[in-house]
């Protein structure tokens, strides 16, 4: 049966990973109709929502793990996979448990998490530091200290793309690294505006100010163009999620040799557990309904999980798969994950609305030197106060 799957995975590593899904699904005798829409969630999501609400839904669709599809589920447009989840014991195999919780509404499972993405990585170009004549830093403070040397060598110390989610991501990574996990949770889970306005976060803004200075010269838009600056040694480093690793891999670089990864910026080694999930709109065609089930099952099968996540650069959602093929960085991540040093992803904690307001703030902050950290913090606290 033909099943149309929409997603916004179109970059090199992403496309290769999707191909793994498609291969596995087609091995079951079905056909994967690829509905890739480039341009990220902002381009793709209205298409998906329109089509689901317009009554012409696709077979399955990607959303970020979190609250993005909440209302579609509540409106009864999404298919309930509780039976399958029980049959295949998803509760037991998926870890951390928070992932499946994100898919659960009123005790029923509505989506299939397929990977874990963590944001808390600083990717460093060994070559850039070599050129600048400084050792590769091992934590954020050393990195900041190495900034002037990099600049002198004609490098951009920190690469940040122009897209707004990248700057917000950078800031959100700085919170647990500088102020710790508790502050992070207070701010984003409890939406505690007092903490957001407090001295801990002020320190984070200080760090963000450093980051802003160091990234002033990075004139790129897309995240992977920024990553490419690191890969080619034009930039010292980049704060970006583990998906960046896919780009290093496609470029044939080896972790530890060509590049260095510092989880939690080398300060607080913890990772967030965001990721992508697939949702399955309700369909009338029984054949397709059956195929949806097959697809869900395939996506979670151990073999697919491994092959997919290796390509994607993310961590499998199953704890029971063999990840010996994983590289240096991914292994670091797995270790942290195993230790349980995890925090939820902001997508799970905040609504898209709040995230978007944060985006607006940080994109402005990072490109507007005139906006002082203090002023920005005030606005930040206001957004946290109004979040729900």
């Amino acid at each position: 049966t033909d099943l149309e799957v929409t997603h916004w995975w179109t970059s090199g590593g992403e496309a290769a990973a999707v191909a793994e899904f498609a291969k596995a699904f087609e091995a079951t005798g079905n056909k994967w109709i690829d509905g890739a829409i480039a341009g990220g969630g902002s381009t793709a999501r209205p298409v998906m929502v329109s089509r689901i609400t317009g009554g012409s839904p696709m077979g399955a669709t990607q959303f970020n793990t979190g609250r993005q599809a909440e209302e579609l589920v509540e409106a009864g447009l999404m298919r309930d996979f509780t039976d399958l989840a029980e049959k295949e014991h998803w509760k037991d195999v998926i870890r951390p448990a928070s992932l499946l919780e994100g898919c659960t509404v009123d005790g029923k499972v509505y989506c299939v998490p397929v990977n874990i993405h963590s944001w808390q990585w600083l990717w460093l170009s060994n070559k850039a530091f070599e050129d600048a004549g400084v050792p590769v830093p091992t934590n954020w403070d050393e990195f900041v200290a190495a900034g002037p040397a990099l600049e002198k060598a004609g490098k951009i110390p920190l690469a940040i793309g122009g897209q707004s989610w990248q700057t917000t991501g950078t800031f959100n990574v700085l919170i647990p690294a500088i102020a710790g996990k508790d502050v992070f949770l207070k701010v984003y889970q409890d939406h505690d505006a007092e903490v957001a306005a407090g001295p801990e976060i002020a320190k984070v803004f200080k760090a963000a100010d450093d980051a802003r200075r160091m990234s002033a010269k990075s004139n790129v838009q897309d995240w992977n163009q920024a990553t490419n600056l690191v890969i080619t040694g034009q930039a010292g480093g980049q704060i970006m999620g583990d998906w960046a690793q896919g780009e290093f891999q496609v470029a044939g670089q080896v972790a530890g040799e060509d590049y260095t990864c510092l989880p939690g910026l080398g300060v607080n080694e913890l990772i967030s557990t965001g990721g992508d999930s697939f949702y399955f709109p309700k369909l009338d065609d029984p054949d397709k309904t059956a195929a949806q089930e097959v697809l869900a099952s395939t996506m979670l099968s151990p073999a697919t999980q491994v092959s997919f996540n290796l390509k994607k650069g993310s961590v499998p959602v199953r704890g029971d798969v063999d990840v010996s093929a994983a590289n240096d960085c991914m292994k670091k991540g797995l270790e942290i994950l195993a230790k349980g040093d995890i925090i939820p992803d902001t997508n799970q904690l905040n609504t898209e609305d709040t995230n978007n307001q944060l985006n607006d703030l940080f994109v402005e902050f990072f490109k507007t030197p005139a906006l002082t950290p203090e002023e920005a913090q005030k606005r930040y606290a206001a957004i946290i106060a109004s979040a729900d």
Partner: protein, 313 residues
Amino acid sequence: MADVQTLNTVAVGIDPVADRLSGPQGARPKRVLSRRNIFLYGTLIFVAAYYLVPLYVMIVTSLKGMPEIRLGNIFSPPVEITFEPWVKAWATACTGLNCDGLSRGFWNSVRITVPSVIFSIAVASVNGYALANWRFKGANTFFTILIVGAFIPYQVMIYPIVILLREIGLYGTLWGLVIVHSIFGMPILTLLFRNYFTSVPEELFKAARVDGAGFWAIYFKIMLPMALPIFVVAIILQITGIWNDFLFGVIYTKPDTYPMTVQLNNIVNSVQGVKEYNVNMAATILTGLVPLLVYFVSGKLFVRGIAAGAVKG
């Protein structure tokens, strides 16, 4: 016939004109390099260059290989001409898992554009005709709403139209998209046609009524054959608009009927390491080829049609 020379058209006797042969005579000498010409053509050529630079850059880039592009100067002509990017853009560039480039979208675009252009123009021309010649009570109010509608950002209307199409059961079909294009083309097209038909002498319309022709007979037999120039304008505007549309194409269709622009968006927006500028440019040109061709072929008719329709008001 009279021999003109014998007629006394000039005064007899002393020639009143003294410097008969010495002064200026015949055509005023025209200097090719007069100051006016230098200024005029100079400016025009300069401006034309400005308009051509992007096209030049697009073409030049699309003919270069990636290594050459990395060298930097986008204005330098290709050292080694390669058609690889074109082939890739047309046939092998990947969108997600589909690696057949723009070729797939081309026919989808044609399938979308042709009925949309025909339908939207048919509707708008009949509307314009009804507004110009059969004014009935309230018609102008609707028309005013329509004109104001031209100012509404498309994005705002996405959800209402989704709901509308869902309710009439056309969501996700080709006809749904055709209707969407007709709706958004309607304000400007109706304005054009209304203005044009208003400029057709009213007596012609009256004569046809006396001859017993009704609403449709007058439209098809009298008005339509006379409206060629404005139809050309409408067709050009609609082909351009619909062919270049991305938003509606992606929202109101399905992957197997995505128009070319969706593929273009995917090729351009899915960055794989370095941006493959040459492929992007080739894809861009390929996508714009149809409307460009339409313009090159019918530019003259376009101006004439605009003169006939858009300008009176």
